[in-house]
Each structure stands twice: as structure tokens, then as C-alpha cells.
């Protein structure tokens, strides 16, 4: 199909779709006048039912926990897919010394960049861990904190270069983190079955509202997710950066 016919078909279809979408959307409740019952119910009862103050984390790791398990494995299979696709063409050579690097500046990195990287990477790492462990109390959680930890790892790459990055971020550590994250999630799902409760049911002691250990299984699952997200994103970056290495 040529570009011209494709565009013509597109314009025709959009002319069909847009009025349908507009007529459908104008019948939704007006913006800012939310009417669904679920959000209000969760906002009203969850603080006392689960002893957590961040409702989004409560939804993610407890009320909708089974869905998040699916998301976690989706993330894991995407990371596995990246690794398989790229290693399929390159070979299983992540253990090779990353000394010969194609088109990557190895000398003369600006001292300002190295200095800022050294300053910011630990702070960012600490901030990421803070965001992960306070998931059930304040805004944040395993997904967000995991990505911030990944940003800290990238700052090491920007500041110190590829070889040092490979020395800091070990690929065995990443595999371990990814697997451990999924295992923690699965185990905290299977653990309630021992006492006759349902899969992923929150049977652990709930603790005091506002403390870091409150929420029963929510902080544990959240820690697993943080682990898996940080390790998964670092693996993706590792595989993509390995692509530029000379064979």
C-alpha cells in the first residue's frame, strides 16, 4: 500500500472515529465530577482496614495485588525478551572485558560531569531507597523508587564511563535482583495459603498506622517490586549499552 492510499484510508477512518469518540466522551460525567464508587470506598475504609496511608500502594500491592503480579511478570518477560533478542545476535558475552568500546569517548571526560555524577549518584540512590521503603506511607513505592535507583546507576555511567559502570553494576547482581523480586512477590502470595487464607491475602500483622512496618504484606511485596524494577531497568540499559561494544 502506498503512502497516499494509506493516508486516505486513515483520514476516512478518523472522520468515522472522531464523531463516535466525541459523542461517547460527552456523555461521560463532566471532568472533576467523579462518580465511581470504588475510589471513594477505598479512600474511606482502607486506612483502617490495612493500616496504610498511601491508597495507591494499597491498591497496587493488596487490593489489586493479583494484577500487579501480572504486571511484574510482564516487566520480567520484557527484560528477558530484550536480553534474548540482543544476545541472540551478539552472543552470551556479557562477561567479556568492556575495554574496546566503539565510538565512546574514554578519555577527557569533563571533570564537572564526573564530579556532579559522584555527588548526585549516592544522593539519588538514597532517595530511591527512601521512596521504596516509604511506599505505604507517602507518595512513592516500588515502581517509582526502582526507577529512581536505576537513575542513580545511570549517573554512575555518565560520571565514570562504561568500564567503571560495569564494575559497579554487576550483571549477576542484576539477575539476582530481578529473580529475588519476583520470588518475594510469589512467596508473599503463597504464604497465606499455609494458614488456609486466599492467595495474596494480607494475613501478616498490620502494625501501627504511620510506621514503616505497617501494612502487613504490603511493604514486603513493595520491596520485591522495587528490587525487580531497579534490576530490570539496569539489565535493559546493560544489554543496550553492550550493543555498542566492538565484537
Amino acid at each position: 500500500m502506498t503512502h497516499r492510499t494509506r493516508t486516505t484510508v486513515l483520514v476516512f477512518l478518523l472522520l468515522l472515529l472522531v464523531p463516535l469518540a466525541v459523542s461517547g466522551l460527552t456523555r461521560l460525567p463532566a471532568f472533576g465530577h467523579y462518580q465511581g464508587p470504588y475510589g471513594d470506598v477505598i479512600n474511606t475504609i482502607t486506612v483502617h482496614a490495612r493500616h496504610v496511608t498511601n491508597m495507591v500502594s494499597a491498591v497496587n500491592y493488596d487490593i489489586r495485588g493479583f494484577d500487579t503480579l501480572g504486571e511484574e511478570f510482564l516487566l520480567m518477560s520484557a527484560v528477558t525478551g530484550v536480553a534474548m533478542l540482543l544476545r541472540g545476535g551478539r552472543g552470551e558475552a556479557t562477561s567479556a572485558r568492556p575495554t574496546r568500546v566503539l565510538r565512546r569517548r574514554r578519555e577527557g571526560r569533563s571533570e564537572a560531569i564526573t564530579g556532579i555524577g559522584r555527588l548526585l549518584a549516592p544522593i539519588t540512590l538514597l532517595y530511591g531507597i527512601y521512596i521504596i521503603v516509604h511506599a505505604q506511607l507517602t507518595p512513592g513505592g516500588g515502581f517509582q523508587g526502582g526507577v529512581i535507583v536505576f537513575a542513580a546507576a545511570l549517573l554512575v555511567y555518565f560520571g565514570e564511563g562504561y568500564a567503571s559502570w560495569r564494575k559497579t553494576v554487576r550483571s549477576t547482581m542484576l539477575t539476582l535482583g530481578e529473580t529475588l523480586g519476583a520470588a518475594i512477590y510469589l512467596c508473599s502470595g503463597l504464604y497465606p495459603l499455609l494458614s488456609g487464607a486466599a492467595f495474596l491475602q494480607n494475613t501478616l500483622p498490620l502494625g501501627q498506622i504511620g510506621t514503616i512496618t505497617s501494612g502487613g504484606s504490603i511493604p514486603i511485596i513493595n520491596l520485591g517490586v522495587g528490587c525487580a524494577v531497579a534490576a530490570g531497568f539496569c539489565s535493559i540499559a546493560l544489554e543496550l549499552l553492550e550493543e555498542t561494544r566492538l565484537p
Partner: protein
């Protein structure tokens, strides 16, 4: 203008579809796919929004004060992270394609166009 954010979502979706149909290489196509994905974020967050309501986090304001829907926020949150990983997967497909076929333009890859 009470439905304005919904139309922003439709606009993002439509412009993403236009980009995909008219794209001349796969990197552009994947970027358009993420634009379409962001249309779902706008739509979900707009549906859960309530005027004069705070975030659904009760660490600093009392339970029972008005707050927006946490369910859609949780959906968007996980989707952003997983979407980024899936985008990486698609981009690594493009890298392999470039290695095998030497091109990333969809038009030159069609089996019919010799």
C-alpha cells in the same frame, strides 16, 4: 469545556495513529506508540479526578477528606513502568532488524515491493 481533558486524550490518540500510519521508520513508529499510550494515561487520570480533592494519601490530612480515585492512579503507575520496558523490547527488535536487513523503514521491508 467540562470535557476538555477527554478531548486531549482523543487528540493524543489520533495524532499517535496518524504518526504510525505515516511513519517512515520503526523508531518513529515506536515513539508514536508511546504517544498513544499516554492518551490512556490522560483519559484514566481525568476520569478519576474530583474538583477540590487532594491526593489519595492520608499521611498528612485526615481520612474522609475528599480525595481522587486511587484505582486509576495505580493503573497508570504500573503501566508507565511496564510500558517503558516494553518500549525497550521493541527498540531491541529494531536493533536486530537493522543488523539483519540493514534498514528500519517499514516500506522497504515489505515482501511485495521488489
Amino acid at each position: 469545556m467540562t470535557h476538555f481533558p477527554y478531548f486531549v486524550a482523543v487528540w493524543l490518540f489520533a495524532i499517535g495513529v496518524v504518526g504510525i500510519v505515516r511513519s517512515r521508520d520503526y523508531v518513529q513508529l515506536i515513539a508514536c506508540l508511546t504517544v498513544i499510550q499516554s492518551a490512556t494515561y490522560v483519559l484514566l487520570l481525568a476520569i478519576g479526578y474530583k474538583v477540590h480533592a487532594g491526593a489519595p494519601i492520608f499521611s498528612d490530612h485526615p481520612v474522609g477528606s475528599p480525595a481522587v480515585d486511587p484505582v486509576v492512579q495505580a493503573l497508570v503507575l504500573t503501566d508507565i513502568v511496564v510500558g517503558a520496558a516494553v518500549t525497550a523490547l521493541l527498540l531491541s527488535l529494531v536493533i536486530q532488524l537493522r543488523k539483519r536487513r540493514g534498514t528500519i523503514a517499514p516500506d522497504t521491508l515489505q515482501p511485495m515491493s521488489d
